[in-house]
């Protein structure tokens, strides 16, 4: 085997430009695969981190009648929780409401949250820092959509626990930036104590976000959803993105492998005399097949080396500076930061290396098998097989 590697190395280096063209294409594919998967992994990591920080915390205790995917459950999907039951939890009461910026009606989810909570990244401390009677905060996407800014007053209409409409002017005390659209788009946040007063639903919550000290326990009428189960939707979306994106890099890899396959097929035809000479000098056919297969897989090894030369600085730069995402990316409905920092983990790198090496070896072996059927006398004469 060592001999096959020695000979393959010499043959490839000796082949000159033909080798380096194949290596170049394969190295490019290798880097693109790493880049794309690193980007998705970086996005995945960022989306998980931000979604946990802004929305899910360490899990959520959901009222049994509340379904996050069904707004019709909001009316009944809430219930009281005692202070003891709320220990290590941030209660959130969700009500449907409307605001009237510049006279237009704008349906919103009105969410009450504690001013002093620290479990979520929401800047709820802004409630306490304001003198406004009814302070609200909202995300920048929401503020843009409603054409509101910090300091603006806007009419809010809501219904109390009896279904009676009421309205009051609320003041935007903070517009925050977040990568998590589910705490931003169509939502306004206010102190839960105020919302309890406004709705008459004192101590009620629709859901509670757990902090890291929370210990899951049975609470009648409530269901605990662990962090991982809450992230399942996000994971599914990212997995779908990864699968659809893989078509692009698999096509690229296929082109590179086709180039190797083509070179190997040509080699078997063009190098028949050489093959015959190897056999005449005492190599077994299996050894010659092995030599040609190793030559093919060595393209991938060279591609790794070349890929490292331009890939490490390029990917390191991207991992350091991040990749800017266009403003419309928030419309995808999941957390997308303004910049995504690709993550190139060991698993990704080892997996990509194995993918490239194994696939290059397979496409090299397929044409090389012909050698095993070659008559050495015909090979020495250079007759076509």
């Amino acid at each position: 085997m060592k001999l096959a590697f020695q000979l393959a190395y010499k043959n490839l280096v000796g082949a000159g430009l033909r080798t380096w063209l194949n290596v170049g294409v394969l190295a490019f594919s290798f880097i693109i695969i790493l880049f794309y998967n690193g980007l998705i992994d970086g996005w995945d990591e960022q989306a998980r981190r931000d979604t946990i920080a802004w929305e899910y915390g360490h899990g959520q205790l959901l009222h049994e009648k509340y379904d996050p995917y069904d707004p019709f459950t909001l009316d009944d999907g809430h219930g009281p929780l005692s202070k003891e039951q709320r220990k290590n939890l941030v209660p959130i009461l969700i009500r449907q409401a409307a605001i009237y910026p510049q006279g237009r009606m704008f349906s919103v989810m009105l969410k009450g949250v504690q001013s002093d909570q620290t479990t979520l990244e929401l800047p709820t401390d802004a409630f306490g820092e304001s003198d406004a009677a009814l302070p609200i905060i909202m995300g920048s996407q929401m503020a843009d959509a409603a054409k509101l800014k910090e300091g603006d007053e806007v009419t809010l209409r809501w219904r109390d626990k009896h279904g009676t409409f009421d309205a009051a002017a609320v003041t935007v005390v903070k517009v925050f930036k977040t990568n998590v659209p589910t705490v931003d788009n169509g939502q306004i946040w206010m102190p839960i104590e105020k919302l309890w007063e406004m709705t008459g639903l004192t101590d009620h919550a629709t859901l509670c976000v757990a902090n890291e000290a929370f210990e899951s326990k049975e609470v009648a009428g409530w269901t605990f959803a662990a962090q991982e189960s809450l992230l399942k939707t996000l994971n599914d979306i990212i997995a779908t993105k990864k699968a659809s994106g893989s078509i692009m890099y698999l096509l690229l890899l296929a082109i590179a492998l086709l180039a190797i396959f083509d070179t190997q097929v040509l080699s078997v035809f063009r190098r028949q005399k050489e093959i015959g000479t190897y056999i005449a000098l005492g190599m077994t056919r299996t050894q010659v097949v092995g030599l040609f297969t190793v030559e093919g897989s060595m393209y991938s090894v060279f591609a790794m080396v070349i890929g490292c030369v331009f890939g490490i600085p390029f990917l390191s730069y991207l991992a350091h500076t991040g990749i800017p995402m266009h403003s419309g990316s928030q419309d995808m409905g999941i957390a997308v930061a303004e910049r995504i920092f690709p993550v190139f983990g060991l698993q990704l790198i080892v997996g990509t290396v194995l993918l490239v090496v194994i696939s290059a070896t397979i496409v090299s072996f397929l044409p090389a098998r012909k050698i095993a059927k070659m008559n050495p006398v015909d090979a020495l004469k250079g007759k076509l097989v």
Partner: protein
């Protein structure tokens, strides 16, 4: 001394399929060659010289009859066994040298020893000795495309001889050489034949080569026309 029979051909026949019929390249060949012979298969194109060399070199096997080389029946050898036979005991010299183009002269000669897993120091000495024999030690780092025809053929001789084979098969070794180079390589081969007692078997129709042979087997239409001992004194020993 020609005491040990290295090659024994008994009623060897070789046929090749041609279209729907067959072409008989060799027909009922009975020959034997002993250690240290410097013999040639002589005949016009198509007389079966190269086919016979290929069978002796275990690159091919007879359709009928028996070819025994160094005690091994060629038709019974597996691919691996015939590769082993060539690797250890048989050297080839080809008409167009068949040097490996991306290797240097040194690496071409070294190749046979790499296949035998000879240790590096021993390998280096053997390669340099072989290049000294053929007078090309100074061109060790050159690639085949930088060599003249004569130099290329001498590299091929060094490559064939470096493993000290018992049998060396040379297929039209002078076909691409001028007279001066032909005589030079023949002198080299004759000297190696004497020094190492290697059996040389040529396929040729070159008069210059024939002058050096101790035994000439004339082939015509795949049959032995005559088997001529040129140096009876040597054969009587």
């Amino acid at each position: 001394m020609h005491t040990d029979t290295l090659i024994s051909l008994n009623n060897v026949t070789k046929r090749f399929p041609v279209g729907e019929g067959e072409f008989t390249a060799l027909s009922g060949i009975n020959l034997s060659f002993k250690a240290g012979e410097f013999a040639g298969l002589v005949g016009p194109s198509g007389s079966g010289k190269t086919t016979l060399l290929n069978i002796i070199g275990s690159l091919d096997s007879p359709t009928e009859g028996e070819a025994v080389v160094l005690g091994k029946r060629i038709s019974e050898l597996s691919h691996k066994e015939s590769a082993m036979l060539r690797n250890k005991h048989i050297g080839f010299i080809f008409q167009v040298y068949n040097l490996l183009p991306v290797y240097t002269v040194y690496e071409n000669v070294e190749f046979a020893l790499l296949l035998q897993n000879v240790p590096a120091a021993e390998r280096k000495k053997a390669v340099m000795d072989a290049l000294e024999w053929v007078g090309l030690a100074g061109l060790a780092n050159k690639r085949p495309d930088k060599l003249s025809g004569g130099e290329g053929q001498r590299v091929a001789i060094a490559r064939a001889m470096v493993k000290r084979p018992q049998i060396l098969l040379a297929d039209e070794p002078s076909a691409n050489l001028d007279a001066e180079n032909t005589y030079a390589i023949l002198e080299t081969m004759k000297q190696l034949n004497k020094e190492l007692n290697t059996t040389f078997l040529f396929s040729t129709h070159d008069e210059k080569v024939m002058k050096y042979l101790d035994r000439i087997v004339h082939l015509r239409d795949g049959k032995v026309e005559s088997d001529e001992i040129i140096d009876p004194e040597k054969y009587s020993l």
